[in-house]
Symmetry: C2
Subunit: 603 residues, 2 copies
């Protein structure tokens, strides 16, 4: 393959695009790989499309090696199957909906569980047909509230989605593991570092779920890991619940005047000043903070809830949202407080919340739902709001003086928190989600009536898994992992070409020699990008080569008079002068080494 | 490649699907290549996807060979560019429109002229950057009023669309010809008979346009050709206009009572009975029929028009619609006639139409627009309606007694009509449109401001071409051209496999031998579909093989005891017994011959 810069449809930019926050976005646009067509929607130019094709090819090969068969579904789908599983509503504003000319409802599919389930139902009927794993590489749509970071969170993107179908749980486990291993091979081959973390299933449903994250500071997902091998995204971290404490000897709760203490800090300061205890000072961890939030349910219904948690922790909205999915979370506003005058801002306490709120005889309960952090176990004692301005209650004992409608994993996870599996303290890191695998179980098969007859002729609901790789996002993650301040720096197996031949100067002999080298390399199966532009300065050509990120650069220029050309890797490694006669062999050997020796180990 | 029927995700059907009208639809569904997901929207199963991939590969290779570079645009596009060219409105109900969560308008692109134009404007600025041809193979959307015939007229489909950009007309001609030749190579390689016909540009605009049609009785496009080499779709046929006739000696027009003659036939019969002329009988061709139709303009405005044409011809609505595009055509209804009392059904004549209608002093003209068939040249004499029930006017002379607002190509084209280029009488045939090429000219570049600086530093509006191949429709056309009553019969280069190995019976030795043959062929690079199902009868296996349409079938069964297996082509050619030891060589040689010798000549 030989691409010529003189005719290649590309234009590089020296300036960063105004809307680009991250390196992959900035450099993919500047190097002419992609162009923005609308927010979160991109056009692929020839160089970008080549890289995308290579990423897809690796995914496709590993899916085939894992026994998955390729199919292809429409992106434009009728409402009915998504209605049957409840997702037409659950997706809320996150999917694109439309009507056809007859007024029928359609959606642009964000994921295809329903359609795969119905197709298997259409084709198969016996346990003998299973196990089955089928996949597609396909354009998907999500109407993200905040499309950002270029390809990392787009509204039209390419995904590989696979679905497994088994007759029993052991089969699902095997199918899940086969996909999990295929994912490891995909990311290893792509040279993309990754961490596998426990995840929540969210709107997808199901029993077991793991994410593949590639660690990077610009990642929008936070995950935790322990030295002992635990790893999870923050949404999936479960709090290590302390034992309940005896409270028979605890003093009775007592309300105190605490003027001007609407914040935890002001309250703690006042408590230490006015209600000092002998053994140790009060800290924020002794206070029970009650945070008012609004849930927006998929039906559109808005519900106020209060989360009670130790005052030294914030509510992590992503954790809370994962816990209450498919509801979305919003801040509570003035109208909410106006509708609930019992909620005294800065002084909210359990006495007016959930099961603790007094109910007039014969009246319906109107108190807002109250959810507690799992750390607030029976016997723990708290300073918390007394529901009147300027007053707090002390020694309020959980389980004795108040209770709740349930617990919720909403508190932030902090470095040093214990891993739930006892494997030591957690450390926090950030990453980009590049894959997500779900043991869905029978939710979709049940909703859509997918059964097969077992050995005894009895109908069994099929159990399913669902496995996604964000193909365009993987490409962006590769760009994040492989670039420097000058531009992209692709691993050889995904680069748009293996070698970038640059002819410099105006000497016709240089262009003839460069052309010969480029052709000879292409004839040897090397993918060559040849900068044959006659009137472009060496500086511009070198800057373009650095932006493009082809792994090997061959410069044909002044050295030619001495019979040498320069061979230099895009990153690392030394620039060397190679005799013209040897350069094709030398470069072909280097390319071969790059392509075979590039498997990366897992992080 | 080795696909095993025991695990292949497929199920064949013995019955035709209820909604299938044509062979390709029927057989692609029955053979498990595709499944309907919604009207005009299909899912691709593994065998179908393999064929689709092969068709795409041929298209891609020939585009590359013609110097076109591949890009990929989104399918979900913002309204603005389509607004700028007027097509947001012009497409009327034929495109899918939607809003995102912020209320912005989007469409699912039916074709991408606007986006390609804007991308070139974004990247290029000099005549030196041109010529350029770029293409994509991409999913397109049209909200067809009547999706039909499976893949032939779908609402989500795959298209190859290419666009050329040139600085001058000579460049556009060269780019157009390069694509035209690439299309010929594509269809030749695919073994698809085709005819290139002159076409109208319709809503696309532009100066020159040709369609590639594959002739088939089930085609929805009618085209004409002459022995002398003229070919056009009926919309593009222009009428051979007779010379004007002298009318100085013509008698004056005279109105006659013609009771009960609301039809042409009744009028002609009465004319011959009551107003017989000496030289020859009156025929329908002597009457001027005035047909009332409604145009619906893209703006939604409805306009009544009357088409006047010789009474022996019907209005061809597709021709009329092409002539008045982007307006759509509807029948006139009672409300229309009520609004225009001057239109007396069955007796409409020119006197109340267009420029002939009397206008009261100072009043605005309210008569409906009157368009004439080009055959109604000055001096022709007609019997036509006198605008009162039961009366017609005779000897009404065009140009003397009436005129019109213009001419229109709305009359049906008939076999035997003269070709416009004088190359003899036309014959009519039907076909499926598989490609369409347009010399667009400057319409889109003008609307979207795409200019480049020429040698003199002067801005020049770029001239463009647009070139489409309906990839999924090509696949359906191949199935139409290559099937028999038993099933599909693919040419080797697009078949989902080259060889279908069938193991019959229950003898383990048969399965061992068949497996060895299948593997040995796969090792030689032959694509093998192996029916290894242990408990399926030979009859079912043979029926499936006939449905699938793999070009060579190898049957391993009873003959194995005598050391032979059967090799038979799917269609034509004889079944032969081949010694087991020779079968791999024999079959590999036959596959190679099929793959190399299959170029088809143009029709």
């Amino acid at each position: 393959m030989l691409l010529r810069m003189s005719t290649l449809f590309v234009r590089t930019l020296r300036e960063d695009p105004a809307d680009a926050e991250v390196a992959s976005h900035r450099l993919l646009v500047r190097a002419g790989y992609i162009r923005r067509a609308a927010p979160g929607i991109y056009t692929w130019l020839p160089l970008g499309l080549r890289v995308l094709g290579k990423v897809e090819a690796v995914v496709r090969e590993e899916m085939a090696a894992a026994g998955a068969q390729e199919v292809h579904f429409p992106a434009l789908l009728p409402r009915e199957p998504y209605e049957a599983t409840g997702r037409w509503t659950e997706y809320g504003p996150n999917i694109f909906r439309l009507k056809d000319r007859k007024g029928n409802d359609y959606l642009l599919a964000p994921t295809h569980e329903e359609m795969f389930t119905l197709l298997v139902k259409d084709l198969y009927s016996s346990y003998k047909d299973l196990p089955l794993t089928i996949f597609q590489i396909q354009t998907k749509y999500r109407d993200e509230a905040r499309p950002r970071a270029g390809l990392i969170r787009g509204r039209e993107f390419v995904m590989k989605d696979a679905y497994s179908f088994d007759v029993d749980d052991a089969g699902l486990d095997a199918s899940y593991d086969a996909q999990r291993q295929a994912y490891q091979r995909v990311f290893d081959r792509l040279g993309l570092e990754y961490v596998i973390v426990a995840a929540t299933s969210g709107a997808m449903g199901g029993s077991r779920s793991e994410e593949f994250l590639t660690p990077t500071a610009i990642g929008e997902d936070t995950f935790v890991r322990s030295a002992g091998g635990y790893a999870a995204n923050v949404e999936a971290v479960t709090t290590v619940v302390p034992d309940a404490l005896p409270y028979d000897d605890a003093p009775a709760a007592h309300v105190e005047d605490t003027p001007d203490t609407p914040t935890i800090d002001s309250l703690v300061a006042l408590a230490n000043e006015r209600f000092a205890r002998p053994d140790r000072a009060w800290t924020a961890a002794d206070t029970l903070k009650n945070v008012v939030l609004a849930l927006v349910h998929p039906t559109g219904e808005r519900e106020l809830v209060v989360v009670g948690l130790p005052g030294d922790r914030e509510v992590d909205l992503k954790r809370f949202e994962a816990a209450v999915a498919p509801a979305e979370v919003e801040a509570a506003g003035d109208a909410d407080f106006a509708a609930h005058p019992e909620l005294v801002r800065g002084y909210i306490g359990p006495a007016v919340l959930g099961p603790n709120a007094p109910v007039a005889d014969g009246a319906e309960r109107t108190a807002v739902r109250y959810l507690l952090d799992p750390r607030v176990v029976p016997g723990t004692r708290w300073i918390t709001g007394a529901n009147v301005p300027g007053r707090h209650v002390f020694d309020l004992v959980a389980g004795r003086d108040f209770t709740a409608d349930g617990t919720v994993e909403a508190a932030e996870v902090r470095a040093g928190d214990p891993a739930p599996d006892g494997s030591g303290p957690l450390e926090l890191a950030r990453g980009i989600e590049i894959g997500h695998i779900f043991a869905l179980g029978r939710k979709y098969a049940q909703a859509l009536g997918l059964t097969v007859l077992d050995q005894n002729g009895k109908a069994q609901v099929v159990t399913m898994g669902s496995y996604g790789i964000g193909v365009t996002r993987v490409l962006a993650a590769l760009a994040e992992a492989h670039h420097d301040e000058k531009g992209l720096a692709w691993p050889a197996h995904v680069a748009p070409a293996h070698v970038h031949v640059v002819a410099t100067g105006k000497d016709a002999a240089v262009f003839t020699a460069a052309e010969d080298i480029a052709r000879a390399l292409a004839d040897r199966g090397v993918e060559v990008l040849y900068d044959d532009r006659p009137k472009v300065s060496p500086g511009v050509k070198f800057a373009d080569a650095e932006l493009f990120g082809v792994p090997l650069v061959v410069v044909v220029g002044r050295g030619l008079a001495d019979g040498v050309v320069e061979v230099r890797p895009r990153v690392g490694g030394e620039s060397v002068q190679v005799p013209v006669a040897d350069v094709v062999d030398e470069v072909a050997a280097r390319v071969s080494a790059l392509l075979t020796g590039s498997a990366n180990a897992q992080a």
